[in-house]
Amino acid sequence: MNVMLSWLSDAFLLVGGFLCITGGIGLLRMPDFFSRVHAAGVTETLAAPLLLFGLLLQMEWSLDMVKVLLILVFVLATNPTATHAMAKATLHGGTRPWVKGKNEGKAGEASSNP
């Protein structure tokens, strides 16, 4: 049982770490704000709970487990909210998604029709 738990925890940590790095690379390489939001959203909403689950499986039964669960719930509640809020605020500010071949100029400029 312990071996399976430790194997499961390692799998979670590995997948979580991989998703973190791909999210980070996406944050750098994506051409437009909205695609970056998507990349960052993956890190926050999927990688963070996976990593915290991996941590949870490695701890003994104690108060710390409840705290990790609290952090997990909090992160799951606030990070998608913050991402959504930022995307909506950007849309409100006038930025439009970059569509290939349609908009001239760099992504991030306000379009002519609000």
Partner: protein
């Protein structure tokens, strides 16, 4: 350090404020690495939370782009360089960090470490030193915080009716943020109370708890519009609360005086000395928490209620 250099070189003050938040967060991680949990707590709460909000509300009142400096920076650079070199030269004489033969580790620290749990009876040694052994210094700190709030009130004042915001705010139609904030604010306040009363056993204490409590109200104000918090916590109450916190702290000291002991000697508060210490630390941290909360919130009121006179 790279962040600090970038913060100096960038002229967009908005980016600089965000970089300060990132910097404070890295410093908190560094403090955790040095095993100073209470300091990391305070740094995270104050530096990354409240200071970012206050700097942003101050930035709204001034220009966003830094203007060119009028004079050449050679003379200030020289002064800073000489002072820095003198300080570095002085540091080289000091003992290395963690050196067991340093003078500070010979007399004072062993006494606190050995006698602390016996005299004060508290697992968290930082709170024991802060609130009991060095209680007078902490009283000074609380009065300093109160004076800072007083100075901001005298200089800026809180606008009585915050002007209605022109235009529609982005927060206005963000239902998700509003719903989540409504659910989260009670939890934040509950966490602040946990930090306040758990300061005896783990990391925490009055300063951090006051700041977190104020952060909950700041979040309410940010999400639901300027001035909505004025209906919940009126500014007049904040002034009284700030004074009340300092009064509680000083009052504990005076009560000790009335029992023929020294000022802020907590053993006078109960029949058995350790119980007296517990009660004294509890009351004192409560005073600190109340003062910090009211001062932080009133400074936020003073900054956020104003708009730029153009």
């Amino acid at each position: 350090m790279l962040i600090a250099i970038a913060a100096i070189r960038l002229t967009d003050l908005f980016a600089v404020v965000m970089l300060f938040g990132v910097y404070s967060l890295l410093t908190a991680a560094l403090f955790m690495n040095l095993d100073a949990v209470d300091v990391a707590f305070t740094e995270a709460a104050v530096g990354a939370g409240v200071t970012t909000v206050l700097l942003l509300s101050g930035l709204r009142l001034t220009k966003r782009w830094e203007s060119r400096p009028q004079r050449s920076p050679i003379l200030p650079l020289l002064v800073v360089g000489i002072t820095g070199a003198a300080l570095l030269y002085a540091i080289m004489d000091a003992p290395l960090m963690g050196d067991p033969s340093a003078p500070v580790h010979q007399h004072v620290s062993p006494r606190y470490i050995e006698q602390g749990p016996i005299e004060v009876g508290m697992p968290n040694m930082v709170t024991a030193v802060l609130a009991s052994y060095r209680g007078y210094d902490t009283f000074g700190e609380t009065v300093v915080i109160f004076t800072a709030g007083l100075a901001v009130m005298l200089l800026l004042g809180i606008p009585n009716n915050p002007r209605p915001r022109p235009g529609v705010s982005a927060i206005g139609d963000q239902i998700v943020v509003k719903a989540v904030a409504r659910a989260l604010i009670p939890l934040i306040l509950l966490y602040a109370l946990y930090v306040q009363f758990h300061g005896d056993f783990g990391a925490g204490g009055g300063f951090q708890a006051g700041v977190i409590f104020a952060t909950g109200f700041v979040l309410y104000d940010l999400v639901f519009g300027d001035g909505s918090t004025h209906a919940v916590v009126p500014p007049a109450w904040l002034h009284r609360l700030a004074a009340l916190g300092v009064l509680i702290y000083g009052g504990v000291g005076v009560v000790s005086l009335l029992f023929d002991k020294a000022f802020l000697d907590y053993t006078a508060l109960a029949s058995d000395p350790v119980g007296g210490q517990h009660l004294g630390v509890l009351l004192v941290e409560l005073g600190v928490g109340i003062t910090v909360f009211s001062v932080v919130l009133s400074i936020f009121y003073a900054f956020s209620g104003r708009s730029r006179e153009s």
